[in-house]
């Protein structure tokens, strides 16, 4: 038999069958390639503890509330993933979201501008601010740490200026916007249908990829393994939807967040742009010499980050039914950054996935939600969230050292 193109070298062992896959996974974890493992383990521990302390934590309606809360900061964290991927940081996302929230109040409520135009303006202003950060970095060599720190103050000032003397603008109850942020739930049939889609896509794409690989004389995964994976994913998603449907169901706002995560995941893993992002984060000079427009990549990442932060601010205005001076202040900034890092996006650049925003924000909001249920003050919440962030960064650092010593970047 002709050896396959990627199996011709006899020195390399390849995992075969189920036990082989498990062993390969264990080897990966041991060498420090942890992926989403720490956050999944962490989430399991947090949920177990909170459920033991207060059984209401796991009740369907509390989880639905949790998902509403996740969506606003989660969208901001998704933007943070983009800049962290390049080894950069944006410390101004909290203020940016505050400006986005204030713009909705001023433009839509006070000036009577149509809602889509107001939202578009907020997102466009975010993109503009991001372009400024990237230009400061590209042209003047200003570290993003400093430029976004000054942006944090400047944007906070802009937010206070726009809101004026009253300091807060209420969004009309009963408007679509506020309903979207507080009430709107996917119809049951739609949420079940959407839960089926990932499994089907997995199966269809996986089968066609395997067929193409075999045709090209490359090794291909087994159809059985693919089928089992797709079925398990579908069962898990259906179970989640069924459980949430015991309460109010799946919020539209969370569906929007997940759709953004999936779009970002596709862009980061399946497009040239995403490949360039990882390359610039891993070795910017090598990327430049390979002909990648490194400045363009920086601009796109900072624009996306600030635009998503502004969108997160718009969503939080809908969630709170007001644009206030408090929007985007306090822990929003650090929660968004912490979510990305806790979810497994490296602070050192070059590693990360869109899903880390989703997983990370669920961890952060679970802590906030659980402590609120226990009637604990926000002082304690800050301390515990801070400790979890520290642990996440320590895990990231240790895993990085382990990867280096095991010959994995």
């Amino acid at each position: 038999m002709n050896p396959q193109l990627d199996r011709a070298d006899a020195r390399v062992t390849h995992a075969t069958g189920l036990s082989g896959s498990v062993k390969a996974f264990m080897d990966r974890v041991k060498s420090g390639d942890l992926g989403s493992l720490p956050v999944v383990v962490g989430l399991a521990i947090i949920w177990t503890v909170f459920t033991a302390l207060n059984p209401i934590f796991l009740s369907p309606n509390n989880l639905v509330n949790l998902l509403f809360d996740c969506s606003t900061t989660g969208v901001i964290a998704l933007g943070i993933v983009c800049v962290l991927m390049l080894g950069e940081i944006d410390l101004s996302v909290g203020s940016m979201s505050g400006v986005g929230s204030a713009l909705i109040g001023v433009l839509w409520v006070n000036q009577g501008v149509p809602l889509p135009v107001a939202i578009g303006t907020a997102v466009a202003l975010g993109a503009l601010i991001g372009a400024v950060y990237a230009t400061l970095r590209n042209r003047l060599g200003m570290p993003s740490f400093v430029s976004t720190l000054s942006g944090l103050l400047a944007l906070l000032g802009l937010q206070l200026y726009m809101l004026g003397a009253t300091g807060s603008i209420n969004l009309p109850y009963g408007s679509k916007m506020v309903e979207f942020g507080q009430l709107l739930i996917l119809p049951a049939w739609l949420s079940y249908t959407l839960a089926l889609i990932p499994g089907i896509v997995m199966l269809v794409v996986g089968r066609s990829t395997n067929a193409r690989r075999r045709a090209a004389n490359l090794s291909a995964g087994s159809s059985t393994g693919l089928f089992i994976k797709a079925v398990l994913t579908t069962i898990a998603l259906l179970a989640i939807v069924a459980y949430l449907s015991l309460g109010r169901g799946v919020p539209w706002m969370f569906a929007l967040f997940v759709a953004l995560v999936l779009a970002m995941n596709y862009a980061l893993t399946r497009t040239q742009w995403g490949r360039s992002m990882k390359a610039v984060g891993g070795n910017a000079e090598a990327a430049r010499r390979a002909g990648i427009n490194v400045r363009g990549i920086y601009i796109s990442a900072f624009m996306l980050c600030s635009a998503l932060a502004a969108l997160g601010g718009v969503l939080s205005a809908a969630r709170l039914a007001s644009s206030s001076q408090q929007a985007g202040t306090g822990d929003v900034n650090l929660n968004a950054i912490a979510a990305a890092v806790i979810g497994g996006t490296s602070l050192f650049g070059g590693r990360g996935t869109a899903f880390s925003a989703l997983l990370g924000i669920i961890v952060i909001q679970s802590i906030a939600n659980g402590l609120t249920l226990l009637n604990l003050s926000s002082s304690l919440r800050y301390m515990i969230t801070g400790a979890v962030l520290a642990i996440a960064v320590i895990v990231d650092s240790l895993a990085r050292q382990s990867r280096a010593s095991h010959g994995r970047a």
Binding site: L218, N283, A286, R289, A290, R403, A409
Partner: protein, 269 residues
């Protein structure tokens, strides 16, 4: 060696022509008035001591640095290489001494970096097949193209870097110390490859400190010294002449040592 130089074809079309290239880094002039011609189907070796300006010259040609003054003609037309992308576009591919690979990406991603097939929906299968084809042409010993570069040895990384430079079917390829990190067999493979590339009608610019490698494949040997041209030699030139041009003196440590050995062996000077 003399057989080979007789069977050598006359060099083809003039591909690249540098006139009066200078490059200053602040007060330091790394290159001064460099002239260099490269024809199709010819291997030009750039030799010189450390700090002679070889790597700087390669970086100017690769678009990494811009020359402070002087003109570059490519296929008879004056060109400027404002960026690495512009140089690649013209058909000048470079394998840098530090290889310029992204350690966090796998072999396929590195070979296709910046040149991915189907930008909006990456064609991983076609890229993997092409990667294996390129690597097999180099008789490469890469265990898996889906491992990150960080897990490969120095020689394997060199092979990946060379495979990457061939991806775009360039007209000229520049190799900066291609054999420095390689074992005996891989060195021979790379030299074979250099000849194969030359026979396909490409121009090759090779930097090396290893005179044996240079003599084995070069058609012309261009010596740089302290950032200036210091003579052009054929591979038949004597070691003494070459070393003299490189170090700037006929009386130097290398030739004194050779003389001493010959004297000890009782040969006439």
């Amino acid at each position: 060696m003399s057989d080979r130089s007789q069977t050598r074809k006359a060099p083809g079309e003039l591909l690249l022509s540098l006139r009066g290239i200078s490059k200053n880094f602040g007060a330091v002039s790394a290159l001064t008035d460099i002239d260099l011609d490269v024809h199709a189907g010819e291997v030009v070796a750039l030799v010189g001591d450390n700090g002679a300006g070889k790597s700087t010259l390669v970086k100017v040609l690769a678009g990494v640095h811009q020359a402070s003054s002087g003109s570059i003609e490519f296929q008879g037309k004056p060109v400027t290489m404002a960026s690495p992308a512009a140089a690649l576009q013209l058909g000048i591919a470079t394998v840098f001494q530090d290889l310029a690979l992204c350690e966090n990406l796998d072999v396929v991603a590195n070979i296709f970096l910046g040149q991915e097939l189907n930008p909006l929906r990456l064609d991983e299968v076609a890229m993997e097949v092409r990667a294996w084809t390129l690597l097999n042409e180099l008789a490469a010993r890469i265990p898996s193209v889906r491992e990150p570069i960080a897990s490969l040895s120095g020689g394997q990384r060199q092979t990946v870097a060379i495979a990457r430079s061939l991806l775009l079917n360039p007209k000229i390829i520049m190799l900066d110390e291609p054999t420095a990190a390689l074992g005996v067999a891989q060195t021979a493979e790379v030299l074979n490859l250099v000849e194969r590339v030359r026979d396909k009608g490409l121009g090759v610019i090779m930097i090396s400190h290893n005179m044996e490698d240079v003599r084995a494949v070069a058609d012309r040997i261009v010596v740089l010294r302290l950032g200036r041209n210091n003579g052009v030699f054929t591979p038949d030139a004597s070691n003494q002449d070459l070393v003299g041009a490189i170090t700037g003196a006929t009386d130097n440590a290398v030739s004194r040592r050779a003389d001493r050995l010959r004297e000890a062996a009782g040969e006439p000077l």
